[in-house]
């Protein structure tokens, strides 16, 4: 193994990292996971820990870029140079950059998430067989509604598992159309467009109108990336293959190697290559972001290239499904940081819940499609109960040594809700209980999964419906409903009648008689607890009914008949005397609500 001159290394062990931007090649959660696993490769054999943060102050800033991307070491287009990183130190040192003209995957071809259908969002399986023909991209074949779909197993003809592919005909992202799909043709500056376009923009993002006339209605959205048919390199990177296309007078309806001697598949991005000469490379296996990131993070921790071809720190890329670390890599990194800390002795289960990295909500939402026209059977939701929660929370120790377990140290809670007469405060897989009636003493922390086993550690909001006593829990686009010990879910938010534009539920205010206001950022909807449906037409801006509260609150809950709107560490309390909603108090959640010292 080799280290950098002077054994450059980090002087602290709790390393932080920031994912500054994303490639469009992979879903964001897959990218997050690939980087987290790449760091875990190194934390497994050293005392180092890696925590994700959201800002330039991070030790390791991760960035996707093309060509010259700001550090004076330009990338070189598709293939060749894949990524680079800088050795430990301040500023750009430690940063890791990835060439976004590569096709980033998990090493085995494009990763295309699916929506609706009957495969619960499983990714496409390429190639797949449909009516005896092989497909290596999403297709509209077999459908009359022009929706792109794919099989999520190798053989649709036998398994019949399918989902809809990201497509502008299914939904759009961001813009001002609440995720509505594109309308084709549409008119822009008097010209008719029958596909997404980058015209009128300088940032190269593909967009469309969501009505027939953009000039008149000004309603638009961005087109989801169709990674299965987007070309890389060539002279049309980022554009879509056009099939069929003419090449040397012959018609092609799939990617081809004709005309090349390097074996790469390519396609034209207009219908006639002979005339227009516009082209790019078709998706291939791509490069495993996990493997390349693990290599680059080796540099960011202080390792240089090795001449052991089987080692992770060998400069050439090679795909493997085995654990990537070689003995040579382990010797090198332990030369710099030593071995892992001995694991603490196992302790009685009621203490020391897992610690989770803090991860404030991301700002950009990934907009999900509205209900597809023919979703087919979506299969039963995973039915509960998944195990009886204990009758009450397991009793926590009365004195806790770990500061992270002190509720007064928590800045921002994931969710706060009044349930069973207690105010419940949730954070990173744990929760505390607080009751005025119990002498204002905070109990906990307890592990969420000990009480509600089906729940994830990270919640967005929760509430108890007073009439039915059902407890609703929200995380991302999923909802769980506990009735005593039994649970229904996770189910998708669209099962509650939410549209694709709703990425999370950030709060709830029960209004009695089974009516609840459900909040998502700056809007709220009327929800009927009996039918468990929202009235889509009831969407209203928060400040219309609750003037004076912050607009980007991250939690809304009811407590002792008053509404609380939280932003950062503060709450705005609204009381509804004589039908007028008025902010009558602003305070700190921990100091004023929980009476922390």
């Amino acid at each position: 193994f080799q280290t950098f001159e002077g054994d450059l290394k980090w002087k602290h062990e709790n390393i932080t990292y920031w994912i500054q931007n994303y490639s469009e090649d992979l879903p964001r959660d897959v990218i997050d996971d690939a980087f987290a696993r790449a760091f875990a490769v190194w934390s497994a054999v050293t005392p180092l820990t890696f925590t994700r943060v959201y800002g330039q102050e991070a030790d390791i800033v991760i960035q996707f870029g093309v060509r010259e991307h700001g550090d004076g070491y330009p990338f070189d287009g598709k293939d060749g140079l894949l990524a680079h990183a800088f050795p430990p130190g301040p500023g750009i040192q430690g940063d890791s950059h990835f060439d976004d003209e590569e096709l980033w995957s998990l090493g085995k071809g494009v990763v295309v998430p699916t929506f609706f259908g009957n495969a619960d969002g499983a990714p496409c399986h390429f190639p797949f067989t449909f009516e005896g023909r092989s497909y290596s991209a999403c297709t509209t074949d077999g459908r009359s509604d022009d929706q792109l779909w794919c099989s999520t197993t190798a053989d649709f003809d036998t398994d019949r598992r399918f989902g809809f592919c990201p497509s502008e005909r299914l939904y759009t992202q961001h813009g001002n159309s609440d995720g509505k799909p594109c309308v084709f043709p549409f008119t822009f500056e008097g010209r008719s467009y029958s596909a997404c376009t980058t015209d009128g923009r300088s940032d190269g993002y593909r967009w469309c109108a969501t009505t027939a006339n953009y000039d008149q209605d000004k309603l638009y959205g961005f087109c989801p990336t169709r990674v299965d048919s987007t070309v890389t390199g060539g002279n049309s990177a980022g554009e879509l293959c056009v099939f069929p296309f003419i090449f040397l007078g012959k018609e092609y309806s799939t990617c081809t190697r004709d005309g090349r001697n390097d074996g790469h598949l390519w396609c034209a991005t207009t219908s006639n290559f002979d005339n227009d000469r516009k082209w790019g490379f078709c998706p291939d296996q791509g490069y495993s972001l996990f493997l390349v990131a693990a290599h680059e993070f080796g540099h960011a921790l202080g390792l240089d290239h090795t001449n052991v071809p089987e080692a992770l720190m060998y400069p050439m890329y090679s795909y493997t499904e085995q654990p990537p670390l070689h003995e040579d890599d382990v010797k090198g990194i332990q030369h710099l940081y030593g071995g892992p800390r001995p694991k603490p002795e196992p302790r009685p289960p009621t203490t020391t819940p897992e610690t989770q990295p803090t991860a404030p909500p991301t700002v950009c939402t990934t907009v999900r499609p509205s209900e597809g026209p023919t979703t087919g059977p979506t299969g039963p939701p995973s039915a509960g109960p998944t195990g009886a929660p204990t009758a009450g929370p397991s009793v926590a120790p009365t004195a806790s040594l770990d500061p992270a377990e002190n509720v007064c140290n928590v800045d921002i809670f994931d969710a706060i809700a009044e349930m069973g007469g207690y105010l419940h405060l949730f954070k990173d897989g744990r929760y505390w209980r607080f009751s005025e009636a119990q002498g204002r003493r905070v109990q906990g922390p307890f592990r969420i999964r000990d009480t509600w086993p089906a729940l994830p550690p990270k919640l967005d909001s929760a509430f108890e419906e007073p009439l039915t006593k059902k407890m609703f829990f929200f995380a991302g686009r999923q909802v769980w409903v506990y009735t005593g010990a039994s649970v229904l879910g996770p189910r998708r938010l669209d099962k509650l009648g939410f549209g694709p534009e709703v990425a999370e539920v950030t709060g709830a205010l029960p209004r009695g008689a089974g009516k609840v206001l459900l909040f998502s950022r700056q809007n709220f909807w009327r929800f009927d607890a009996k039918s468990q449906m929202v009235d889509p037409k009831s969407a209203s801006p928060v400040d219309q009914m609750f003037p004076g509260v912050p607009l980007n609150m991250h939690d809304v809950f009811q407590y002792r008949d008053e509404a609380y709107f939280c932003q950062d560490r503060f709450y705005w309390r609204v009381n509804s005397q004589n039908e007028v909603n008025q902010v009558d108090e602003v305070g700190y959640v921990t100091y004023d609500l929980l009476q922390c010292p």
Binding site: L81, G259, W279, P315, Y317
Partner: protein, 87 residues
């Protein structure tokens, strides 16, 4: 009997890869990854051979000092951008 079809090779616009000669590819690679300080190789075959030997040793390739197919294949392989030698 029909003769096998000779594949037509087309020069694609914007496709740099197919226009460098092997020697140009080697010179650019050796410079980019730290084996030579400046692009002074163009007419000094000894220097090229020396640099190739260093690269072949570094990458555990057969040490021939020649721009052989194994070395060319390695130069065309996808890889990390951190130089192999130098700071």
């Amino acid at each position: 009997a029909p003769r096998p079809h000779q594949p037509t090779v087309v020069v694609f616009p914007g496709d740099l890869g197919t226009t460098l000669t092997n020697k140009q590819l080697a010179e650019e690679y050796l410079h980019r990854y730290g084996y030579t300080q400046v692009m002074e190789l163009s007419d000094d075959d000894q220097a090229l051979s020396r640099a190739l030997r260093v690269l072949q040793r570094r990458l555990s390739l057969p040490e021939t000092g020649e721009l052989d197919s194994t070395t060319l294949e390695a130069m065309r392989a996808p890889r990390c951008g951190v130089p192999d030698l130098g700071k």
